[in-house]
């Protein structure tokens, strides 16, 4: 190595890199930590010293009691879970089927069809909200979870089809040909040969589709604002609007909304990040 890359400079560069990265990491985590810490304190504790950890004097779960008593938090949580998981399963199944048709078979109009689906990646489905609401009213689906699932499946399909068909093109020809020579039907090939092979791509698609669905405020607000069909995001938004001055309750409801995502992330962050990086390189 040259003289200008001597040990001292390299050490200084590495140090500076660490300072910048650690500093920004602190900035990214601090607000979330602050909310969780203060949700475990009494009102006095929250205001006297916001930056202190809860101690025997300031520890209190009064906020959580308030949230769980005066809102249907568990119901909202269940709604979000149902909507997200149902949408995800349908997106993956229908997306994989369509991706297979587009990647494997040559037929008239396949290019146009691929373009038709690709259009949905760039143009947000929200712009069609006026007609979606009209449609849901005429189908009598307003204030049902079905309405949300249908919209989210339509929203998630384009990207899922793109990523999955990219992946399916890499499946070795021999595998399919061998199956066809043995007289295996096209459906059997898809479900028994292709689907098991695309498992790694599923993680990527899951990340890109699940997070926006779980976090969405727009469609729950417009299509399913009823008390029985609220999702967690909408429920928290309205709960906080109602209890602005009750700091314990506000902090507790935010913590309850953050924790499930945080716990999931602790378990799946490695797969998730690998999925994003793999998907991005394509």
């Amino acid at each position: 190595m040259q003289a200008k890359h001597n040990g001292a400079t390299r050490f200084a560069t590495a140090g500076l890199t660490q300072i910048v990265l650690a500093g920004y990491t602190l900035l990214a985590l601090f607000p979330i930590a602050l909310i969780i810490i203060n949700s475990l304190k009494s009102r006095a504790g929250i205001f006297d010293d916001p930056l202190a950890l809860p101690n025997s004097e300031t520890f209190s779960l009064i906020g959580f009691e308030k949230v769980l008593h005066s809102s249907h938090f568990t119901l909202y949580f269940g709604n979000s879970l149902i909507v997200t998981i149902t949408s995800l399963v349908l997106i993956l199944l229908f997306g994989a089927m369509a991706a297979w048709a587009l990647a494997e078979y040559r037929f008239k109009g396949s290019r146009i069809l691929a373009l038709f689906f690709a259009f949905g990646i760039m143009v947000p489905i929200r712009l069609g909200t006026v007609s979606i609401l009209k449609l849901m009213v005429s189908l009598q689906l307003v204030n049902t979870l079905t309405a949300l699932v249908l919209v989210y499946v339509a929203q998630g399909l384009p990207l899922a089809i793109m990523i999955l068909s990219e992946f399916m093109q890499q499946i070795p020809k021999e595998l399919k040909e061998a199956a066809r020579c043995d007289g295996v039907g096209e459906f059997k090939i898809f479900f028994q040969v292709v689907l098991p092979l695309i498992r790694p791509a599923v993680a990527t698609v899951a990340v890109f589709t699940m997070v926006p669905i779980w976090n969405d405020l727009w469609f729950p607000l417009i299509l399913a604002p009823g008390d029985d069909t609220k999702t967690v995001t909408l429920g928290v938004q309205q709960f906080i609007g109602q209890y602005v001055t009750n700091w314990n309750a506000v902090l507790a409801s935010l913590t309850l909304a953050v924790l499930p995502v945080l716990i999931m992330y602790v378990f799946f962050s490695r797969q998730l990040i690998r999925g994003i990086t793999a998907g991005a390189v394509k």
Binding site: A154, G185, N215, L217, W247, I273
Partner: protein, 304 residues
């Protein structure tokens, strides 16, 4: 030989096609169509030609709000372009440097806010910036900047910038990840060859690595553009549908919501809502078209 109709292809395509066509493509086209109709007080809709657009762009009651929302949205986008994406590039560049310790841990932590709902992030920052709680003021006091503190979210001049920075804070993980993935995909030999030639790390970054990841930078630009001109949740949860103070944080998403559902004395109108949505559609389509026809094409010419 006569070929039989390929039933299996139709069966594979049908579910995705039907759901996507009925709940995404059709509503979009139907919204464009509705923007040429008008709603009477009884709710009946009749053909009106370009009347809605005439109202939206010509009637001061509408056009002032519309152009205000458009201006704010452009500012919102520019702040993301000037801060979020360069910051993402910086973090990604530092993380992808050889031998950096804890790179994966930093990456995991910085990406976390992206996964949380915009609603949650909005409320969290609202609390932290609240003068009532005083956390920000206290922390600014540590560096003797407490006099600089102001209720940023409540002031007309600063509210939009504050909200934009909150959004930047949340979403910087996305450009960071995309750029990081592109940077580590660059073959090591290219970088090593440049080192041997005696190029400095700084020069290698700007003359070799950045040009090689231009397609990714283009992609982050268009993703930011579409996301920003479609934003709604953050402003709505922090500032409500009225996007106060005095509409200073109003963007196209909140303006669309008010046109559609009404507010205060103004009655909501699906057809005016459709007209606003169509304008947003044109803005987004314009951005996407620019991306594909100019940036994408040019970049490919450079990279081969």
């Amino acid at each position: 030989m006569k070929r039989t109709f390929p039933w299996h292809i139709a069966v594979f395509l049908a579910p995705a096609f039907v759901i996507y066509a009925v709940f995404s493509a059709f509503p979009l086209i139907d919204t464009l169509r509705l923007s040429f109709f008008t709603t009477s007080d009884s709710g009946a809709q009749s053909w009106a030609g370009l009347l809605n657009y005439h109202t939206l762009l010509g009637d001061p009651n509408w056009s002032e709000g519309f152009w205000n929302a458009m201006r704010n949205n452009v500012k919102f986008f520019l702040i993301h372009m000037c801060i979020q994406n360069p910051l993402g590039l910086l973090l990604a560049a530092l993380m992808s440097t050889k031998g950096v310790k804890f790179a994966k841990a930093y990456q995991t932590a910085i990406f976390l806010p992206t996964l949380l709902s915009v609603v949650i992030i909005g409320f969290i920052w609202q609390l932290i910036l609240s003068p009532l709680w005083g956390v920000s003021e206290k922390m600014l006091g540590w560096v003797h900047l407490q006099d600089f503190f102001a209720p940023w979210l409540g002031q007309e001049e600063t509210a939009l910038y504050t909200l934009s920075l909150m959004s930047v804070w949340q979403f910087v993980g996305i450009p960071m990840m995309l750029i990081y993935a592109a940077l580590i995909a660059i073959p090591d030999e290219i970088i090593e060859a440049a080192y041997v030639e005696g190029a400095s790390a700084w020069r290698i970054f700007w003359t070799i690595r950045v040009p090689l990841i231009l397609p990714t930078l283009g992609l982050t630009t268009i993703l930011t553009f579409v996301g920003n001109f479609n934003a709604f949740d953050l402003i709505y949860s922090v500032k409500g549908a009225l996007a106060g103070p005095n509409f200073s944080t109003d963007i196209l998403g909140t303006y669309f919501y008010r046109a559609f559902f009404g507010y205060q004395s103004q009655i909501g109108s699906p057809t005016m809502g459709a007209a606003v949505a169509t304008m947003m559609f044109l803005v987004i389509l314009g951005g996407v078209a620019v991306y594909f026809y100019f940036i994408q094409r040019k970049l490919q010419r450079f990279s081969f």
